[in-house]
Structures are given as structure tokens and as C-alpha cells.
Amino acid sequence: MTQRGQSANQAYAAQLRHVSFSYDASSWALNDISLDIRSGEWVCITGPNGSGKSTLSKVIAGLSAPDDGVVTLLGNIVFDAQGAHAAQYRSARRDIGAVFQNPEDQIVTTVIEDDVVFGPENLGFSRRDMAQAISDSLHSVGLESMRFADPTHISGGQQQRVAIAGAMAMHPRMVVLDEITAMLDPEAREDVMRILSAWHAQGVTIVHVTHLAQEVQLAQRVIRMDHGRIIANDVARHRTDSFEKSNNAPPVEEQSLEETTLWYASESEHITDLNGTARNTTREWAIAIDCVTYRYPHSQQAVLDNYPLFVAQGQTVALMGRNGSGKTTLARLISALDSPDEGSITVAGIPVSSRRNASLFGTRKPKPANSRQRKALRRSVGYVMQHPERQLFAETVAQDVAYGPRNQGLAEDEIAKRVDEALSLLHIQDLAQRSPFDLSGGQQRLVAIAGVIACHPQVLILDEPTANLDAHAKQRIINMLTHLHKQGVTILMITHDVEEAHSLADRIEIMPDSKDSYADGDDDSNGINGTADIVDNLTDATGNTTQNQFSTDSPSHETPRAANVSVSRHALQYASRPSVEHIDVNNQSMSLQSPKVNASVRSSLLSSFDPRILLVVTIIAMFSAFTISNAAQLMVAGTLVVAAACAGRIRVGELVRATHGFLVLFIFTGLLNIFFVRTGSILVQWGPLILTTGGIAASVLYICRFALVIILGAIVMNATTPIAVTDACESLMSPLRNFGIHTQDIALVMSLSVRFLPTLSSEARAIADAQASRGGSIESGSPLQRIRALGAIVVPVFAGTLRHADNLSLALDARSYESGIQRAHWRVMSVRRRDMALIACAALYIVALCAAALF
């Protein structure tokens, strides 16, 4: 960029003087902050949840104006005593990149390339610069091979790399990163930190908000915040030049993760392997999973393959393993939210899924629990999903926690007792009458967990309950789990935190990496990172029968476990350091194999047309079909549809899938015609119902012409991407701009909604599942119960919608999108000769249709 040269004579990237910021006019999120960040510096901002570090990062990124003070960003005085200066903010923002915590909410389109180029488009880059920016930034984050993949179908770690690439492509001089690794697993975290090191080496100023000690030590300067004030501002003592070196660096004072890793590595090669010969009766096992296999629909590869897991009554087991190894799937199977393809599951004595006897037709799917068993299961199993705080819905914390017990039909005083008890276990009694939506993220998590605990489960399953929490909140959860363990509750906890697993669990189970597992089924960390070598390493030591080495207080139970999977700690340690290149190889294979990656349509003649021409021609053809009134015209239109089907190379199966929903409508229109059109000779008369030849003819005609319309639409939609459709609509609408209509904004709204539609659907499903596991179901119960169950789903769905909107609006600002700007367009639509030919064909078709009308 042209402004790049200025950075040399600007000593400071950001200067804050006496800056204060308040959200609620009652307390200061930032209280009199003065701060200088030099150009080219790497600064970390750290502190507990709610200390104001996130707010500070937004002020530094130029995304939010403070209430008081002076802010200078990259030489622009953006805020002073006169208030915010929009022009200065605009100018500063063009050179500031920002990446946030939630990778999903920063992705604006459904093709990686388009997402990366969104910022450069807003900045009005030339075409050549855009091409360069895409390839350079995707190269930097190691995702070149996924350029045309759909970013909503990749792992959280990969999504965050896409978001970083999107910021890089704008060539910022300063980049502000707000807990960008919080939702990633340790391996993905390392990839991201490596990328940052390389970026910093190019002279970019980095402002990184994090509370991970391992990341803090990469910074040149560490700013510690508490209660809206800076409490320490030090040059880092253990600055290491690159991330690789930092892994061997001595741990700094608050080091915990690093220490664990070192301890972890120093252990000699232990093999945890328990053999499967002793397959005991399932009675003493709280969870008995016997050789379960599960595949995602439409996926060839099993995410769980013949997997066994046995947890004794009262045992605490930590379940570890990489993203995509099937941990969340396992938790869902145990909670009867999914059912396995093979194998049996018994939980707390309830057959969740039982093997059927092999029949003549081979093995059949296991028998799922019936509704009575399901109900019993809901009572005995508590399931804390990932991000349980997203399920909160009630007006007060107490009501939310009472939801589960109330669904169990307990008396009011018993419910109150349960609520009290659950809240006090987590030390949050003081929040009882607050609205859950006014709490901090950490407090919300505790409330959501209390809501599950209040159901008094015998078996508790938790999916990364402490992820993304500060040390204080984490400790409360650990204390609660210790307490429940003492009371004899069986606990299965999925975690990425080795230390936590070690301190809590009787036993650590490590999921084998499935070679081609695609998605973990969870909402923001799906996908694979595992590599083939790692799997080999994890599975090479088969056949050994060593007693469990991870046991902290060796349990008396012999744990049966199939011999084909055994894991060494050494192998896991090794597994946590895959090279970026390595991941890419896998990604490529994934995008080829996965049925979910559908971003690019099969190339065909139809898909090569200019989408504007194609859509207009299609609409004309569709509406003209409604004028068809005789068989000759039907023939003409039928020819057109067959030609379109050939040009679109649509498969019969795809066509059936796209149109079968209209079958009922076809039948309905047919019946209406048969009984309402009474021309021609009477064939049958039965009471008031008269069947005539004219009626039957009309019925056939109307069904056919309606079907042609639907089929034509399905063919064309199959050959275009949602992006192409929105681009075309924007271009076609653009004349309306002269009438003061925000066509560019409306087109963006459309493409963003296409992007978020699947996200919202899957979130809604997750929330419905979570409330079902607390006994709230809209499918059964009295109307009042059903309405309550509906509210418990609808409210969190809206809360999620608004949360996405908030995050997305920040992401749009960070990418310099502004209403009414002159944007460049990466994807250029041009009318070529073949498009002219298409128009000619369309004209010919209309003439033929008119001519056929004369017959």
C-alpha cells in the first residue's frame, strides 16, 4: 500500500492518553489508561476475564471509540476532547488489521479465496494486487491448497488461519488479535503462533490479547490489566525469537501449560494398553461402550471404528485426543442424541443402544433405546456440551438452573433445594436472581453447568467444560468435579488440558486419531488436524497388556479395552507437533473426499454462463412456462428442460432430491384440476364428484408445466453457487442505487445470510439437544410444558443470533467495509459470446413457444 512508507517516520503505532471507557455508565471498563505502542513492537495484553483487555484491544484497533481521553492510531488523532473523528478513524482502520476470538463469525463468504479478498476489495485494490494478496496471505498461513474450499466446513484452527489471512491480505501496519487461539486445540494454537512470528518478522506491529502464558512469552512487552487499569507494563524477561525456541525455554513464573508439557515429555515411554479379553458383564460399569462404530451420514469413513470404552461406577475418566478424533461424537452417543452404526452402549444400566442378533441380511443397526429408556437416561446422565452458556434462556439464573429439576416433576421445595445446592457447589449463590444474560462469559458457563448438576446425574459427561475460562473459574469447576467424584458420581470429561486431566482423572483415555475423520460434530472445532504418521505412532504398540499408567489412584477395576488401540505418552507428545505442511497434505485429501465441501459446483456449460444472464433467462423461461396451454408447447418446454439438464450435467439423484419436496404440491394441483375442471365428456360420476376427459387433460397439463418450472429451477440452482447468485443480484439491482436504495449493502446482507444459514441451523439443533438432555422436549408433555420447552430453545437461538451479529459487525469493520464505499470486485462478471448465444437461444425458445400455441 502507498501509506506503507509512512511507517518509517512514525515511531508509535498507537498512543493512548488518559483513556476511559464505560459500557453501562456505572463502572469503567477502562479507567484512565495511558499507553504507547511502538511501531514494529509485539505487545501482549493479559489479565483475568473482565479486566478490560478486550475493550482496550477494540480501542487500539479503532473499532470502538472511548468515552474520554486522546487516542492516536498510526499518526491519526482519531479521538480527543472533541470526540470521535470519523475521517481519521477511516484512515487509521485501513492500516489496522483485527482478528477475534470466534473464528466462525469472521468468515463472510463460502469460498476461502473470496473471504480473504473481502478486505482488499473494500480497500479498492487493483486486480493484480488482489491476486497477489490472496496467494501471498494463503501461502503465509499454509492454506494455498484449500483456496476454493468452503471455510465453514473446515476446522476451527483452519478457520482462524483463514481469518488471519484475511487480515494479512489488507497489508496492515498494525494488527490487533483478541484471544485468537482461545477456541483452538493446542496443536492449532502452535500453528497460529508460528504464523504470527513470521508476520512480526516482516515489521508488522502486533497487539495480542491472551491469557495463555505460553503465548505471552513471545511478546516483547507484556501489559497486565485488572479492573480496567494497567497494573504492569514490562519488557518481557523471557523473550524468545521464534516459537520453536520458546518450546524449550524455561517456564516463566505463572507458567503452567509449559511445565506440564515438560513434565509430560520427560516421562519415559509408557504404554497404556488394556486388553479386551476380559469383557465383563456390563453391570458394574457406569458406561459400557462395546466396540462402537459411527459414521456421519454421507461419509464413508467411520469417525469411531470399533471403539471400546468402559468406565466403572464412581470413576473419573478424562477423554483426550485431537479435534476430529470423535470425542464429541462419543459424548452424543452416550447421551442418546445419536445412535451408533454398530456396537452396544449401556449407561447406568440402561441399554442406550443394544446389539441385535445377526439376521439373514447381515448385521442390522443396533436397537436404540425406547422412549421410556430415554427418559430414564435423561434422569441419570447429565451432559454438559461445549459452550453450555449458549443454552441459557430463563429470566433469572435460579429459574434457568431449575429447568432440569422441574422437568423431572419434582416438588417446588425440592427444586429450590436442588438449585441452592447446585449454585453453592459452584459458589455462585449471589447470582441467583440476576439475568443470565447480564453475566460475564465465565459466570454464564458456571450457571449452565449448575443447570446440569441440579438434575443430580449419576453419570456426568462434560465436553471441554473449562475451555476458554480464566484460572479462577476453572478452579471452581475442578473443585465441583472433585466434590461430585467424592459423592460417587461417574464423570467422563473431554479436555485438551493435560494438567487438568491429570489432577482430576483416575484414568486418561486417549482417542485414537481416525485417519480421515472429517468433523467432530461440535460446532466450532470440527475437522481434522491429525496426520497419518501420528496415527501410526499412536497405534504401533499393539498387543501389550500393561496396567493403566495414567492412573493417579490406581482403580481396582481391570478395565477391558480392545487390544488394537494402544497409546504411548511419547506418541502423543510427538503428535502435538505436526508441521504446517503436513496438515496441508491432509487438508487437500479432505477437500477431495469430503462430501461436505461443496463450494465449487461441477463445472458445466451452464455454470460457465454469466450468472446475471443465466438468472434472467431462467426467470423468463420459468414464467413463460405458466403460459403453456397445449401439448406442443409442453414438448417445446420439455426440450428446453432436457437441454438445460444436459448443459448443467445434473445427476438424476440430485434432481430427485431437489424436487421431491414438491411432489405433494403436484398431486394436490392435479386433484384440484380433476375435480374442478368439467369440460369434455363425463367419464365417471360419483355423487357430486365428476370426472371428465377435460379435467384429466387439464390435470396433466398443469402438473407438467409446474413440474417443468420446478425442475428448471433445480437444474440452474445446481449449476450456480450462492455467491454467483448474490453477485448477479447485486449487479442487476445496481441501477436502483440511483433511487437511494442501498444495493451494495443489501447484496452483502444476502451473501452474509447465505453464509450464516447453516451455522444457525446447526446451533439450533445443538440447543434443542441440550435442552432435551435436561428433560425439555417439545414433542411430548402438556401444552404448557411444550411452550416452556419451546421458549428454552427459541431464546438461546435468538441470543446466539445476536451474538453472531455483534461479532460479525466487528469483523466487517475490521475488514474496512463501509456502506457506500467504492469497492473493487475480485470476481468480474463479463458478458461473452456464449452468453449472447444463450440470449439468442432464449429468444428462439420464446418464439417456438408462441408458434406452438397455434397448434
Partner: protein, 234 residues
């Protein structure tokens, strides 16, 4: 958190997505004037300027006449949610008359963010259907507009529980009129029936179906809007 605090003390919200400052207030005015803003004054550090209500943390980049990023994001998410629910179809009375709850979401959007949001959500959320079932999509848009825009306009004036009910009823009447008129036009295109034959079906079929549909819209919107408005104004 009640609307009183919100109305009198807007410093705590990020800039409203609408330029119209008084646009978003919860449905239930009878609830909660509990947390008065005067309490907040006391705990506020006294030596500094209070955050100004109008420019609350806005960088001024999206000034008048432009859409803010937040506005675009909120519209996009509501369009996505409405479109997602428009694929849910619950059979009513007979299998081919389907109820889809998307109107509820569009109504909520209209109540929360004003008539322009209602219009945009109603129209854009049906565009995915435009190329699969063009006449159905146009009908959906027309009925959606007739339902949500008048309702949002009325609710904008009368922000009470009664006002909301009035708004929903008027919106429903408009929607029923448009739905029946649309059927008079579209059914003869779909089938060989004459307009007169369709008209004969108004009282026995079209009217009961549409009344039932709107009744469900009203009940659901009424139940869910209160907690959602609390979410919007926390």
C-alpha cells in the same frame, strides 16, 4: 433491565442499528422500572464526563445515510434465521397446507429494529425460494410484507403490550387479505380452476387456513418477544 433505563440512559448500548433512537423498546412497558439510572450516577466516578448517549463508542464512520456494520450484520443474521425457519413446514389441517414459522422471526425483527428491517427480512429471506418455486416465493414475500411492515409501523408508535397485540392483529388482517387475493391470482395459474371457482373456496378453505396460521403467528410472537426484547436491551 427495563426499557426505562434504556430510554433514559443509552450510554451503555452500542450504537443502535437504526438511526431512529427510540426505535427499540421492549414489548412490556409494565415491567421493571427497578434499576433507576439515578443509582448508576452514584457509583459512577464523579470527576469524569459521562458517556454521551448519542455517540456511545461510535467511531462515526457510519454516519447518517449509511448503514452501519452492525445494521448489516443484524439484518443478515435475521434473514438467515428467517430463511432457516422458512424451510420448516408443519402440516396444518390437511397435508398440503403447510405452516412455516418464518413469519414469527420477521415480526420479531420488525418489532425490534423497525419497519425497514421487517421489509428487508421478509423479502430477502424468501429469495432462496425464488428460483425453486418462483410464484410461491413472490406470494411469500407479499404476505410477509403485508404482515410485518404494518405491524412494525404500529408498534413503533405504541410500544406497549396492548400496542403490540393491536399491531399483530392489524398485520394479520393485511396478510390474510393479501394471501387470499394472491391465491385468487396464483391458483388459476397453478391449476385449471377459474377465479370464480377459487373464490368459492375462500370461506371453506382459504380463510380458515390463513386465520389459523396468523393466530399461531400472533400467539408465538407474543410469547417469545418479551424474553427476546430483554436480550436486545441488556
Amino acid at each position: 433491565m427495563g426499557e426505562f433505563q434504556h430510554a433514559s440512559n443509552q450510554g451503555h448500548t452500542s450504537p443502535d442499528i437504526s438511526s431512529d433512537a427510540n426505535e427499540s423498546i421492549p414489548i412490556d412497558s409494565a415491567s421493571a422500572q427497578s434499576v433507576s439510572s439515578s443509582e448508576n450516577h452514584n457509583s459512577m466516578p464523579k470527576n469524569r464526563r459521562r458517556p454521551s448517549a448519542l455517540q456511545a463508542h461510535s467511531t462515526g464512520v457510519a454516519d447518517s445515510g449509511r448503514w452501519s456494520s452492525r445494521r448489516i450484520a443484524v439484518y443478515a443474521l435475521f434473514v438467515a434465521l428467517t430463511a432457516a425457519t422458512s424451510f420448516i413446514e408443519v402440516p396444518l389441517l390437511v397435508p398440503w397446507l403447510k405452516y412455516d414459522p418464518s413469519g414469527i422471526i420477521a415480526l420479531v425483527a420488525g418489532f425490534a429494529f423497525g419497519p425497514s428491517a421487517a421489509g428487508i427480512v421478509s423479502v430477502l429471506s424468501f429469495t432462496p425460494h425464488l428460483f425453486t418455486n418462483p410464484l410461491g416465493a413472490i406470494m411469500g414475500m407479499a404476505v410477509g410484507l403485508a404482515l410485518t411492515v404494518p405491524a412494525a409501523l404500529i408498534y413503533q408508535r405504541f410500544r406497549t403490550r396492548k400496542g403490540a397485540l393491536f399491531a399483530l392483529i392489524i398485520g394479520s388482517i393485511c396478510a390474510i387479505v393479501i394471501a387470499i387475493a394472491g391465491n385468487l391470482v396464483i391458483t388459476p395459474i397453478y391449476t385449471g380452476m377459474t377465479v370464480a371457482q377459487v373464490a368459492a373456496l375462500i370461506v371453506p378453505v382459504l380463510l380458515p387456513f390463513n386465520v389459523l396460521k396468523m393466530f399461531l403467528h400472533i400467539v408465538c410472537t407474543f410469547i417469545i418477544y418479551k424474553p427476546i426484547s430483554d436480550l436486545l436491551h441488556r
